[in-house]
Amino acid sequence: MIVYILCFALILIGLYGVLTKRDLIKIILSLGILGYSVHLLLILIAYRKESLYPILSEGKKVVSMVDPLPQALVLTSIVIELGTTAVLVALAIRLFEKYKTYDITEIRRLHG
């Protein structure tokens, strides 16, 4: 149970960072923390106590195994997050070129 609570705390830390940080790079890093904590949650869901990796081989007895599906989901999700982070970093670089700052309180030409 304690691991789930810690995982939830990690999600909240990521969300807190996204909502309160003023630096573009810190926002991107917070999104990273948020993503990884969700991946951790998926892996925790898949885990069964005292069970093995789910690969059948000769001479290995079929005992309880961890659930392989969330692990596959996490792999897919990591790739997606890589793409999103790349786009975000590229945008941050272009924003720095235009505004000469990473501070979001100074990047505000859009309003109303």
Binding site: V18, G35, T76, R94, R109
Partner: protein
């Protein structure tokens, strides 16, 4: 089996464009036009040939309930027609609009990825698969919003990307929780297992999905990114985002999950009603004070999404009919209005309503079509917007919710007021405007097509036509879990 082609065609087009285009942008235009018109033909054909059936395609022949399935029913085909129609006209409009911004082929390649992602979201029958397609279309959308290389566009795109990532994370947590309590990801199987889930868990799952997809649908507490992103993007992309993207990633996903998978729990229908009415009123109040034409239109998107959510939240067949009909109509007239804004920007070089005027003499076709679209969105009788709003208001009264009906009427009147402002200052003012650019025939063709469709689609409510167009769609939604579980029996 034509279902997988709805993903294959745009995806293939995206890659072929980036491979062969190089310097020759003409090829990119031709290929994407062929791909989108082919998609339109396929979707109309599939809607016409299958009325109430459901077709299932098992990917890599993995049987249900283990593999990933693609599902096609009336709701799916209806949405596919909407996406293909708007994307075809957007491509037509883009040809000369995009020419001077950057390298064309990148634009068309990303555009086809956007279409592929949306089509994927529509036809998938698997929760995680839906998430993947949502991400594909969002990645394309972030890049397309920033396509014009101006500082404001990067700013809007960054905001959009951060909000999009947060909402995707919420959806992913929802998927994780759903999987942990149901041990499956196929919609049909989840809908069976979900009945045994205890009440608190249902609330958690529903809340996570409502927050995640509500952010993408821009219902009012989650709306902050929309006006920036939709007004900064190039005009054809604004019309894709406002016209179809927020509906597919937001409302369609909500319909699929909450009606077909979660069996329309009353608590969440009430939330739909509240979110809808709040968006309706606040969206239109925020819109009325805007002077930037595209920003005004973007705020109206929030308000009109409120009508759709209100219709769905009523939960009665008539309310759902109104919601679905308004969904389609809004795609038509909001895209048309964004094309008009793009045409005005091309001709006058600005979209500030205070600097515009007397455009009526300069660009008669744009003015006439924008008149048609303004009348549609504010609900004036012969146009489609009137009928869908009327149905929603009648449904609200019949369902014993006269307060919501009253809010809908107020919202409609304020919409009329703000579009009178657009017409008065933008097209019929006294100021003379210098001409800075020209509108070519493709732009005019796109605008005229949608203006005609704004009138023609009001025929969809006529008895006789309604039975073959809207009723199959409504029956899928009203059927709730039974319509998605029907694929399990074979």
């Amino acid at each position: 089996m034509i279902i997988p082609y709805f993903i294959i065609i745009p995806l293939l087009a995206a890659f072929i464009i980036s491979l062969i285009a190089g310097d020759k942008d003409e090829w990119a235009v031709i290929l994407s036009t062929i791909a989108t018109s082919f998609l339109l033909i396929l979707s109309v054909f599939s809607f016409a040939t299958m009325q109430n059936e459901t077709i299932v395609y098992e990917m890599s022949a993995w049987k249900l309930p283990y593999g990933i399935v693609l599902v096609q029913d009336a709701l799916t085909s209806f949405m596919l027609i909407m996406v293909s129609l708007i994307s075809l006209t957007s491509i037509l409009f883009s040809v000369s609009y995009i020419r001077n911004i950057s390298e064309d082929w990148k634009y068309y390649s990303l555009f086809m990825l956007l279409v592929a992602g949306m089509n994927g979201v529509i036809i998938t029958g698997d929760l995680f698969n839906m998430f993947v397609f949502v991400e594909i279309s969002l990645l394309a959308a972030y890049s397309l919003v920033a396509f014009g290389n101006r500082a404001e566009e990067f700013e809007a795109s960054f905001k959009y990307a951060v909000m999009g990532s947060v909402s995707s994370t919420l959806v992913l947590i929802g998927i994780a929780v759903t999987y942990s309590v149901t041990s499956t990801l196929t919609f049909a199987q989840i809908s069976i297992e979900f009945q045994n889930v205890d009440h608190d868990m249902k609330m958690w799952i529903g809340g996570l999905f409502l927050a995640g997809f509500g952010l993408k649908a821009a219902a009012i507490p989650f709306h902050a990114w929309l006006p920036d992103a939709h007004s900064s993007a190039p005009a054809p992309i604004s019309s894709m985002l406002s016209g179809v993207l927020i509906k597919i990633l937001g409302v369609y996903a909500l319909i699929r999950l909450f009606f077909n998978v979660f069996n329309a729990p009353d608590f969440f229908l009430t939330l739909f009603l509240l979110l809808g009415s709040v968006s309706m009123i606040f969206g239109v109040f925020l819109a009325i004070g805007q002077w930037d034409m595209k920003r005004l239109l973007a705020y109206h998107s929030i308000s009109q999404m409120g009508y759709i959510l209100l219709g769905l939240g009523l939960g009665t067949p008539l309310g759902i009919l109104g919601g679905v009909f308004h969904l389609f109509n809004h795609a038509l007239f909001k895209s048309l209005l964004f094309y008009n804004a793009g045409a005005v920007e091309t001709v006058a070089g600005t979209r500030d309503l205070r600097k515009l005027g007397s455009l009526f003499k300069l660009i008669p076709i744009t003015s006439q079509t924008s008149m048609a679209a303004s009348l549609s969105i504010s609900g004036i009788p012969p146009f489609n917007g009137f009928f869908s709003k009327l149905i929603i208001i009648i449904a609200a009264v019949q369902a014993g919710q006269p307060v919501f009906a009253f809010i809908a009427v107020i919202g409609s009147i304020l919409t009329l007021a703000s579009f009178m402002k657009v017409q008065r200052y933008g097209f019929r003012g006294e100021k003379n405007v210098e001409i800075k650019g020209e509108i070519d025939w493709r732009m005019n063709l796109a605008m005229i097509t949608l203006a005609v469709l704004c009138l023609a689609s009001s025929l969809m409510i006529v008895p006789g036509i309604k039975e073959v167009t809207l009723d199959p769609v409504v029956s899928v939604i009203v059927g709730k879990v039974s319509s998605i579980q029907s694929i399990l029996g074979r």
